[in-house]
Amino acid sequence: MMHRDIELILMRQLASSLASAIFLVDPLGTLVFYNEHAETILGRRYEETGPMPVELWSTMFHPLDDRGKPVLPEALPLVKVLKTNKPATKKFWIRALDGVKRKIEVTAFPLIGQNQKLVGAVSMFTEVTA
């Protein structure tokens, strides 16, 4: 049967209890959860979006740099983490699902499980003033 690694389960439980915005993906990059604070920045409740593949979430917020140029999916911190297993950080603009443009600072890091395998990745982010 389908089940999640315990490290991912614990990360989701922790994220549910934090006031920091958290976005959680599985090893394939599929979005599996974001918490309440992330919902306020991303402009939609997780219950409404549900899980989605990396190809979708990495483009649906229309990420832009300070000059207004699109940030390609492979330049997003969370996508980088999935490829390198190393932390990554970046500031960029998004158009949230409530239609509002917000600048966010993202720090992403891998979740390496007890068996030394990648079990997922986490993005912590905050809204920053332009």
């Binding site: 389960i9 439980q13 209890s17 007890q114 068996n115």
Partner: protein
């Protein structure tokens, strides 16, 4: 396929008149298959008595350690199979990212905590990483998954021709939440217990006690019942009783939890000395 309980207590051995019915030894159970395969579930203080019952013909025994907290390994040094040069002993248990199982066990099986070194044991000893294992052991298929409990901890699923058993003596699946996740794939341990014929599960607390011990790695009796329902296990065997719970208190806890949770499956509390037949869900022997 039969399961015998040699120690049902959690945390600390609690001998005495007030724990005679459910037992005072710490976690240890034994599974014996119809073809004679012997599995030992944890090595709490109950393991010492078990060894005396081994057939002289027995040549292999596998010990499945859920984790290395003291109440689950304290009896290991008194597991006489380890001192028998004719015996093949396989120990399975979780490693950590920095220490393999042998190194972890050596912390206990060496001075000053124990006089005998692991390396000096005369049996034919094999130590295996059980952090996430799938193995054929005799007539059984055994698999393990990491579960929610402080430190590296696994639950075991044992499947045979006569039925299946899940062993999760220390498990806190609702950690951090007030209720179970609606989506069962996000519940710790669900793969271990999914649809098994017998679930042996942590039932250390009342709900009131659990509220003051969140994060300690255990479940209340009612949480164990809810987990059993979600996992669609066919029989719950509450296990790993708190050392402060006397026999009468345990029975009150069980009675109240059943009355409130109204489980749609049988609940047979583990008692030291009881043997349960997995296929019939009956206690077939009681040898206190």
């Amino acid at each position: 396929m039969k399961v015998r309980f040699w120690g049902t207590r959690g945390s600390l051995a609690t001998p005495g008149n007030e724990t005679l019915r459910y037992g005072g030894n710490t976690s240890c159970a034994q599974i014996v298959g119809d073809e004679g395969t012997v599995l030992v579930l944890d090595a709490g203080t109950g393991i010492r008595e078990m060894t005396k019952t081994f057939s002289p013909k027995l040549r292999r025994v596998d010990v499945l350690l859920s984790h290395l907290h003291m109440d689950h390994i304290q009896g290991l040094g008194f597991f006489y199979a380890l001192y028998n040069p004719d015996m093949e002993v396989h120990i399975w248990g979780p490693a950590t990212p920095t220490l393999d199982l042998r190194s972890r066990l050596m912390r206990y099986l060496s001075p000053p905590l124990f006089p005998v070194h692991l390396r000096d044991l005369p049996c034919n000893l094999h130590i295996h990483d059980g952090s996430r294992m799938e193995a054929e052991i005799g007539e059984f298929k055994v698999s393990s998954w990491q579960v929610c409990h402080p430190g590296s901890t696994v639950g075991y699923r044992i499947e045979g021709a006569q039925g299946s058993v899940a062993y999760m003596p220390d498990h806190e699946p609702v950690l951090g939440g007030v209720r179970f996740m609606a989506d069962r794939e996000w519940i710790s341990g669900i793969s271990v217990a999914d649809g098994v014929d017998m679930l042996i599960h942590d039932s250390q607390y009342t709900d009131e006690e659990y509220a003051n011990r969140i994060g300690w790695g255990h479940s209340s009796m009612k949480q164990a019942m809810e987990f059993t329902r979600i996992a669609q296990a066919k029989l719950l065997v509450p296990f790993h009783y708190d050392p402060t719970h006397k026999d009468d208190e345990l029975e009150t806890m069980l009675f109240e939890a059943v009355a409130e949770a109204k489980p749609g499956f049988p609940v047979i509390p583990a008692k030291e000395g009881d043997t349960i037949d997995v296929a019939t869900q009956k206690i077939v022997e009681n040898s206190p």
